[in-house]
Subunit: 119 residues, 2 copies
DNA sequence: TAAACATATGAACAATTATTCATATGTTAG
DNA sequence: CTAACATATGAATAATTGTTCATATGTTTA
């Protein structure tokens, strides 16, 4: 004789959950938010972002700075671009990338504060 | 006749890169930081975190709130635990989870501010 | 116009990840 | 002690992801 192992029948717990529910975001908002944080979840992208915090840079600058292939850097720039984290402008043969939003640095710094405190 | 397509020979660009380099973090710091943000890069984990911002909860509360299997929730709790994002305490048959650090909510809010502004 | 340069992009591949299923562990009630 | 409950965990799997390789696109120079 099997029972579903979920404690929804406990009245106390049910009330707790009912109180929480209205405060939750929508599925779409959680998706958007997780996609945003995904942009910060790779070391290469973090390097690119922290370089762009300092100044606008072209792709070859980033390639030289990161010691990575041009293709790998370009692919990550493409991801950041598509998620509106960075923007670009063309200048002759070069394409210069820059941050699209000052929020980005704020998110980055909030994370950095956390890992620097963990010593 | 092939040439390496990297603009390091351009003196201007080289100076730019040399100025940036000392400001960069170490590889290990970028790894730690990306791992931290990875914790926020999944909708299920974000739901768990935003629920725990409000109050300490046991696993079955989260299962009821998220409408997910106990196993899926438990696995994500395990990930968050191992990364020291949340802590737990046992109380009888239940295990209660709570945030380990108030930085977590700060990072979350910084991200949330960004997506809510994008309307 | 052709060659060189700077960057982008598609396909392929290995690595990582979120969930499910089955089962194990630890706790309490009877 | 045994059954029921609450939670954890290992294995399997499908989906996602970061990099590489090869090649395409767009710009400038000669």
């Amino acid at each position: 004789m099997k029972k579903i192992p979920v404690c929804e029948n406990h009245e106390i717990h049910k009330n707790v959950v009912d109180e929480l529910r209205p405060q939750m975001l929508s599925q779409e908002e959680y998706n958007d938010l997780s996609n945003l944080f995904k942009m910060f979840s790779d070391p290469t992208r973090l390097k690119i972002l922290s370089a762009l915090f300092q100044k606008e840079l072209c792709v070859c600058d980033l390639v030289a700075l990161l010691h990575m292939t041009q293709s790998a850097v370009s692919h990550q720039l493409s991801v950041l671009r598509q998620n509106r984290i960075i923007r670009y402008r063309r200048s002759g043969k070069n394409i210069y990338y820059a941050l699209d939003d000052e929020h980005i640095q704020h998110i980055y710094n909030a994370g950095l504060a956390h890992i620097l405190e963990e010593l």
